[in-house]
Amino acid sequence: MPRYSAFAVVKNALTGHTRWREQWPDAQPKKEYDVIIVGAGGHGLGAAYYLAKEHGITNVAVIDKGWLGGGNTGRNTTIIRSNYLYDESAKLYDHALDLWDGLSQELNYNVMFSRRGVMMLAHNVHDVQSFQRHVHSNRLNGVDNRWLSAEEAKAFCPPLNISPDARYPVMGAALQMRAGTARHDAVAWGYARAAAARGVDIIQNCPVIAIRRGPDGAVTGVDTAKGFIGAKKVAVSAAGHTSVVMESAGVRMPLESFPLQALVSEPVKPVFPCVVMSNTVHAYISQSDKGELVIGSGTDQYTSYSQRGGLPLIEHTVAAICEIFPIFNRMRMLRKWGGIVDVTPDRSAIIGKTPVKNLFVNCGWGTGGFKATPGAAHTLAHTVATGEPHPINAPFTLDRFRTGRLIDEAAAAAVAH
């Protein structure tokens, strides 16, 4: 794989950029693989990369019903942070954050991870209690997160309205400085290129129809639009479509898929230096490197695979943004889109083994999967390769719904991811 560098760009400029090669081949399926990963998003492609790199398993295919990175990887608001409350979550997301730190160099692909800081606003006494609990827990877990007064929050993010007369006054904020954003498509492309360079097949436009199991119940492969493909192990990392794929293997999941909407404004000159999240009013905002304000909203109330979403929710989200940042009232919305997020009862992910032998699953990321991408991929690869949980993903079992040992970030703090 030719290395990317500024030098390579200059050199290729001399030949009119006609000599760049494809970043990953458009593979056709082989008869059998050691591992098939269903879903070519950041998580699936990343898991393939780590399987190849860290476990030497290269006879791997990543299969997607559409084009790679076309699901939630390419549709989210790219917020990356790790200031979660529970030890289990903090460890998982902080592991991801550690990997984010060197990811561009690791992949030789600039994913533009920007440590611009993520600030979460507290609007009432309950928020203050909850976020301070986060701050203290994070501090003792070695996770960066600190408490800001309203004035400090305003200094960090000048467009913020901290008037005490606001309907939702800012009573303070939790700031994780190491957190930020990344270029979502580049994450999928970078993993795809690096995985393909190590021999992984990336098979696009190939819907998986069913997971096939042998007489002993173990997985034998997948039926796809391009025919049956054998596999010793199968890992499903299909986000909103996980229930449907797992159902075909006879595994019913504690998941529901909801529409999630996001939008961008027209591009403007730099005005917004960080990421701000307000869980109380359900709005999340940052400014992209193109200058667009990137704004995320909550999920619609009903399950859906339509990727449409309703107008009232968007109206509410935009109103909330304008209430917190009144100077944006005359900005214009450029485009709005929808994704499908798979949500578990405790709003935490499921990563690991399933009741079916050699079938693994990575799902339930809800609205927060992007930030976990390297961590989820890395620990999923470990579990698939060794058949055992990684210490970091061990608590995120499917079995916790039987025992009641939930990791309920949402219940604990009414915090969206």
Partner: protein, 997 residues
């Protein structure tokens, strides 16, 4: 009058001049002009700079698809907005405009250095660079990249304008008031249908406004238009101009954004700037016409290069010639008409460069008559001119070979690459698009909504075709609505039908490395970038779009998508539909945030619920806190007290004498019916059967998962009537949950639930003197401890009002809660204040309430519990009816993790130093000397300074806490580690003797 404005021509008012400024220079235009038409009338084409290379740009369209001519517009303080389309913004007196994305002057932009270095910035270059050395990313590369962001500058002041919204229900909504839309609306309205017709432009007519020579039913186009609009109005059709259909949502809900004041010289008081309409239409006709495609050749982005249809619009609508020497380059018949009309208006048409070898003979003949040189079978291989096109290079093409170049001088180059149906709204419905190989366009396919598409939107061309098709769509819609309708025939004279060919890049004799043929003008995406993306493995159009940013500019790909797709498909070697078309996403054109927010701003952003006693609290200096949708009095500072001092005073006064508290926000539910007690037994953990009428009990409500959801005191008023109270925030949730079980699981129970939260105002009176204050006001009940013991309820009169009187206590003091009909709440409060005067009655707020209850170890659901706490964890095991076979959540309490040792349990916590008040949320460890990450065993849920006890107190959830009473734990804080001892949560009067007064 400039040489470019034709006196008397167009739909502008030549008698009314309007002054405006662009980049600090004063100009005049005419009423009815857009900024673009007014500037063009002065010969100004240069209106902006592109995003990446800062190339000079002028308007390429005359409509909302404009990618280039974006300007900042302002009208006084707070009324600035960036990225406004100069081609859409109507002129108003005193309008101030500025160009964007330039370093220095518009005519000399230092940012254009990027243009010279363009070989270094191909599509996706940033993914390959800026990685070394790693530390440079944070400090150098990323800040530089971020500084380059954006086009215009963001507003910096609060918007003084207001925005409105409306719901609208229509039998038929017609989007687009061109020939098709007008006819659709007309036929449907004639059939008796309730029609709304909208158009994004300042006036209706669409293409008719740019083609006045057409005759319809024997009348000139504009006469016919006037008559049609008059008939529509007389039929009661709602006609809305300056109204953009921004999105097509589920089941024929269309969002419309109507601009109300941006074009007005003066803004009336209370006039909203824009209004968002949420229309629900039984049927929809989409008559949005077609978008003209640019041609793709080297230098196609220079100011003065414009779509031929746009030039025709500037001529006929605004009376503006876009140049004096024009060259036309086209692959479609329509551009000939623009050429002929311009020629008639005095622009010299130097040549028509026709990419087709054999254009229609009629057009050739017409060109010949006018003395216009027609270069059929030719290509354009370049343009020249620094800030404005000065010449164009054309070459013959024969058998695929590009012949010798010829340079033609001109001051404008008008292009047409044919037309593509505007199917954005249809695409929002997830309707399928079908590729039409003959016309090389996507046409509407399978419909998912009750909608019709008419005219150029489905590939038809020419006025007769569009009018006829619109009439048919209107009649079809009327029939679908159950009305009788038949489209009347129309006759059209001087029609301008036409056909054309579709192209990728035009053939060229230039070395490919030196060709810069733009596809997405704003984002500076060239044909070469698209081919590079495909070469690098981007085989889906979504990948190509994201890698090159083609189609992601503020025109949302209206100019670029189809050209990009044709070239990508060619590079991939597949048919266009196999490469796909990126999804069009709402809004159709960029839409003001304020219009989405509507009335939800400031005081009306969201409901603020206030109690009947709120006015008294406000008048008496209360500080408020938001609690769910309510605002509640937090504390009542006196004479410059801070919160701590006020709360300490309120606490002391209540414990020493009597305090008064507004508890009206508590949720209240009337549970009534023969099966009321059975229902209560099933819902709440507690047993209710033996609770006597006239008595109360503290109830705990779980979710089916076994965790605490809500709590409150519940009074039994009679055998078959309970007065249930809930937490303030929990009231709607609890009622919903109860209704759910009642309606769907136990519909056989004869019991009914009614919310009475707002029927009653509730005042809590607490303290040793509470009875003394109340006594004189109560009629019909004996308040003595014997007759009315702790946890009892009675109906009586208080201060002359009918009341439900509870004796209960959330403070540990003798306490009463008086419920009176809400209209009397304030009067009751005032009567109690008056009666309490001899006892120094002290009003207190939620903070004091929290402190007093914490001193007693009473929990606040949501603060001391967090959705993962079961009753035993919270020390509420006593509230579980052990003998009950079932209640909501009971089974979950037996799940493995809920019976496992080591669960977090609620305990009291006393710091070693009573002067230290712990932070709520502080984490607890057993070993303070361990390294990070530390093993945390719990956290502080509540913490206060207790004036009563003269020290701090806290409650905490700690793993296995119930077995750890007396043990010390540690709280490592940034400023040092605190030691604290685990205690019971009952800090004050643990045996409850004060309740027995």
């Amino acid at each position: 009058m400039s040489q470019f404005r034709i006196p008397g021509k167009g739909r502008v008012d030549h008698a009314k001049t309007v002054r405006f400024a662009f980049d600090n220079r004063e100009y005049t235009g005419l009423r009815g002009d857009t900024v673009a038409s007014a500037l063009l009338a002065h010969g100004v084409h240069l209106m902006g700079r592109s995003f990446k290379y800062h190339r000079p740009r002028g308007p390429v369209t005359a409509d909302s698809a404009e990618p280039n001519a974006l300007i900042g517009t302002s009208r006084g303080p707070g009324r600035f907005e960036p990225n406004t389309r100069a081609t859409v913004q109507e002129l108003r007196e005193g309008l101030i405009c500025e160009s964007q994305n330039r370093l220095g002057a518009l005519s000399f932009d230092f940012g254009a250095v990027n243009d010279a270095l363009y070989p270094l910035f191909p599509a996706g270059f940033y993914y390959k660079t800026f990685m070394w050395p790693r530390s440079f990313w944070d400090k150098l590369y990323e800040p530089v990249i971020r500084r380059a962001a954006g086009l215009g500058r963001a507003p910096s002041e609060v918007d003084p304008d207001t925005y409105a919204s409306r719901y609208l229900h229509a039998d038929l909504l017609v989007v687009g008031a061109g020939p098709s839309g007008l006819m659709a609306a007309l036929e449907a309205a004639r059939a008796g249908v309730r029609v709304t017709l909208v158009d994004e432009n300042a006036e209706m007519g669409g293409a008719l406004l740019s083609d006045p020579g057409v005759e319809i039913d024997g009348r000139p186009a504009w006469d016919w238009l006037d008559a049609t609009l008059a008939e529509l109005a007389s039929l009661g059709v709602r006609l809305m101009t300056r109204t953009t259909a921004i999105g097509y949502y589920h089941q024929n809900m269309i969002g419309l954004c109507q601009k109300l004041t941006d074009h007005l010289d003066e803004i009336a008081d209370n006039a909203p700037r824009e209004r968002m309409w949420r229309v629900r239409a039984t049927r929809v006709v989409l008559a949005q016409g077609a978008l003209e495609k640019p041609l793709v050749f080297h230098g196609n982005d220079r100011p003065g290069v414009m779509l031929a249809g746009a030039a025709q619009t500037y001529l006929h609508r605004y009376g503006v010639k876009v140049g004096t020497r024009a060259v036309i380059v086209t692959s479609h018949d329509s551009a000939y008409h623009a050429a002929f009309d311009l020629a008639a208006a005095g622009t010299r048409i130097v040549a028509i460069v026709e990419t087709r070898a054999a254009p229609p003979e009629t057009l050739r003949a017409e060109a010949r008559v006018r003395g216009i040189e027609l270069l059929a079978g030719h290509t354009v291989t370049g343009t020249r001119g620094r800030l404005r096109v000065a010449s164009v290079t054309v070459n013959p093409v024969q058998g695929g070979r590009v012949g010798e170049p010829r340079m033609i001088h001109c001051d404008c180059l008008l292009m047409s690459g044919g037309w593509t149906p505007s199917l954005h709204l249809f695409s929002h419905t997830k309707g399928s698009l079908q590729w039409d190989a003959e016309s090389n366009t996507f046409l509407p396919g399978r419909m998912t909504e009750n909608c019709h598409i008419a005219g150029a939107g489905r590939g038809l061309w020419g006025f007769e075709a569009a009018l006829t098709d619109g009439a048919k769509a209107g009649a079809d819609a009327a029939r679908a609505l159950g009305n009788e309708a038949k489209a009347a025939p129309l006759s059209v004279a001087h029609d301008r039908p036409g056909t054309g060919e579709s192209h990728r890049e035009l053939p060229t004799d230039r070395r490919s490395s030196r060709v810069r043929a733009f596809i997405d003008f704003q984002n500076d995406v060239t044909a070469k970038d698209i081919r590079l993306a495909v070469r690098e493995g981007m085989r889906s159009i979504e990948h190509v779009k994201r890698y090159t940013t083609n189609g992601m500019a503020t025109d949302q790909g209206k100019m670029s998508n189809i050209n990009g797709l044709m070239i990508a498909a060619d590079a991939v070697g597949k048919a266009p539909p196999e490469v796909g078309l990126t999804t069009f996403r709402p809004p159709y054109t960029p839409t003001t945030f304020g219009a989405f927010a509507g009335y939800h701003r400031g005081a009306t952003f969201e409901v603020t619920r206030r109690t009947p006693i709120d006015p008294w609290a406000e008048a008496n200096g209360a500080v408020f806190e938001p609690v769910s949708l309510w605002r509640r009095a937090w504390y009542f500072p006196k004479g410059g007290e801070d919160m701590e001092a006020a709360v300490a005073r309120e606490c002391r006064a209540t414990r020493a004498s009597v305090g008064i508290f507004d508890a009206s926000t508590l949720g209240k539910i009337e549970v009534a019916g023969p099966d009321a007690v059975e229902f209560m037994n099933r819902m709440y953990t507690n047993p209710w059967t033996k609770l006597a009428p006239g008595r109360c009990r503290y109830g705990v409500l779980l979710g089916e998962d076994g965790y605490i959801r809500d709590d409150g005191v519940i009074g039994r008023l009679s055998d078959e009537l309970f007065h249930v109270t809930t937490t303030t925030g929990g009231a709607p949730r609890v009622l919903n949950m109860m209704e759910d079980y009642l309606q769907t699981e136990w519909p056989d129970l004869d019991v009914w639930l009614t919310s009475t939260t707002e029927q009653w105002a509730t005042v809590a009176l607490n303290g040793p003197n509470a009875r003394k204050v109340l006594e004189g006001l109560v009629e019909g009940v004996d308040l003595s401890a014997e007759a009315m013991p702790h946890m009892s309820v009675a109906e009586c009169r208080v201060a002359g009002f009918p009341a439900r009187l509870f004796r209960l206590s959330f403070t540990g003091e003798l306490g009463f809660e008086i419920n009176v009909p809400a209209r009397h709440g304030l009067a009751l409060w005032e009567a109690l204040m008056e009666a309490g005067r001899p006892h120094d009655i002290t009003p207190y707020g939620t903070e004091t309430m929290h402190v007093l209850r914490a001193e007693k170890g009473f929990i606040i659901v949501g603060q001391d519990t967090d959705g993962t706490v079961a009753p035993e964890d919270a020390g509420l095991g006593w509230a579980i009816g052990k003998k009950k076979p079932d209640f909501v959540g009971k089974r979950s309490l037996a799940r493995p993790d809920l019976v496992a040792p080591g669960r977090k349990q609620l305990v009291g916590l006393l710091t070693e130093d009573g002067g230290v008040k712990l932070e709520e949320g502080a984490q607890i460890v057993l070993d303070p000397d361990q390294p990070l990450p530390m093993k945390m065993v719990g956290h502080v849920t509540s913490s206060y300074h207790s004036a009563t006890l003269g020290r701090s107190i806290a409650m905490a959830l700690i793993e296995g806490g119930h077995d750890m009473e007396g043990r010390d734990v540690y709280l490592p804080m940034p400023d040092g580690t605190h030691r604290a001892r685990i205690t019971s949560t009952a800090f004050y009067d643990p045996d409850g003797s004060r309740l027995k007064l």
